[in-house]
Symmetry: C2
Subunit: 207 residues, 2 copies
């Protein structure tokens, strides 16, 4: 049993876990800035108030740390559209709220999103990430499903495609928009909105 696991299984988990989260959050920021391939533990430590050693004190190894980063990322973004879904009373309102958030996060959190695609790509090579990445992908799929199924409900229609396919389509649109956003294309967000506006009505149809 590692020191970390031992520590976690004991009583006062709160403070220990809190610091882990704090460190994971800092690591997330550094990773989003540099990318997985170019981020070392020293880069991460330098982004905190602590030294390199603490990372090994709170995490067993690099994989453990990055796994917690990924979990932190998930917590941060999986509920992004839930407010909109909960409060929208008309399909137009829902669509507009969804589009707004979509374009907003594309521009303002582009670094975080590119990290997600980076890590999902890593999971195609490294088994250690596969499980967590797959879990997050599923969470994102459900997030999209909540939006679309609610949209269908509000329009009195039903989704014509499975949750999986719907997510794949939106993910493709978002990823292309992100590429253009990061390349400095000022029209990336606008074009993403336009694309979704075009696609959205075709995904649902009268039951």
């Amino acid at each position: 049993m590692t020191a970390v696991a031992e520590r976690l299984s004991r009583g006062a988990v709160d403070k220990f876990a809190a610091r882990r989260t704090e460190l994971a959050r800092a690591a997330l920021q550094t990773l989003a800035e540099l990318g997985y391939a170019r981020t070392g533990l020293r880069d991460i430590a330098q982004n905190t108030d602590f030294s390199l050693g603490v990372l090994h004190y709170y995490f067993t190894d690099k994989v453990d740390l990055i796994t917690h980063c990924v979990r932190e990322y998930k917590a941060q973004c999986v509920t992004r559209y839930d407010d909109v879904v909960a409060t929208a009373g008309t399909p137009e309102e829902l669509a507009e709220g969804f589009l707004q958030k979509l374009a907003e996060t594309l521009v303002e959190e582009s670094d975080l999103h590119r990290l997600w695609y980076d890590l999902r790509g890593q999971s195609m090579f490294e088994d250690s990430f596969r499980k967590d990445v797959a879990e997050i992908d599923l969470s994102l799929e459900r997030m999209i499903w909540r939006v679309i199924s609610r949209y269908a409900e509000l329009t009195g229609t039903e989704p014509q495609l499975s949750s999986r396919v719907l997510y794949a389509l939106f993910d493709g649109l978002f990823q292309q928009a992100l590429l253009r956003q990061l390349a400095g294309d000022p029209a990336a967000a606008t074009d993403l909105r336009a694309a979704v506006v075009q696609v959205l009505p075709q995904l649902v149809r009268a039951a």
Copy 2:
């Protein structure tokens, strides 16, 4: 002027360029196996009949090598569906041929495809790759466009979405299928076929 550039600008380019291509091809294979983050120049050299030094003899640095890998990749896959497009006489024939190739490459060239997504992800962090990646992405977009516009032609309809949006949608579908394929899901290819069959007819409509 570097030694490599000097060599290239002279007369007998053929043999030099041929070896560069040979090395790039070997590098491509190694990268597809290990991924960008875990592939060193020594791994690549070990996959050839030569030593580490030759890599620096034929390429100025790692970026130069990988750039040529990416170009090699492009040459290898951008014409994948052109035969089908050229020979298909009916929409059904085209759709079936497209689906066949799509599922085939998903299974048999999954390593190469995951490398593409890996490198495209890298281009979100590293400027040096951005230009080449964007160019290949455009080539792939046009590849998809040739398929879809021909499909529309054969059905007497017209594409309802722009080339860019169409590519983003297919790319999303393919990437999700690839993730499942690499995770060992035996239904990945079948499900991709099913998804495309569902989506394809919705993308074109009577002019």
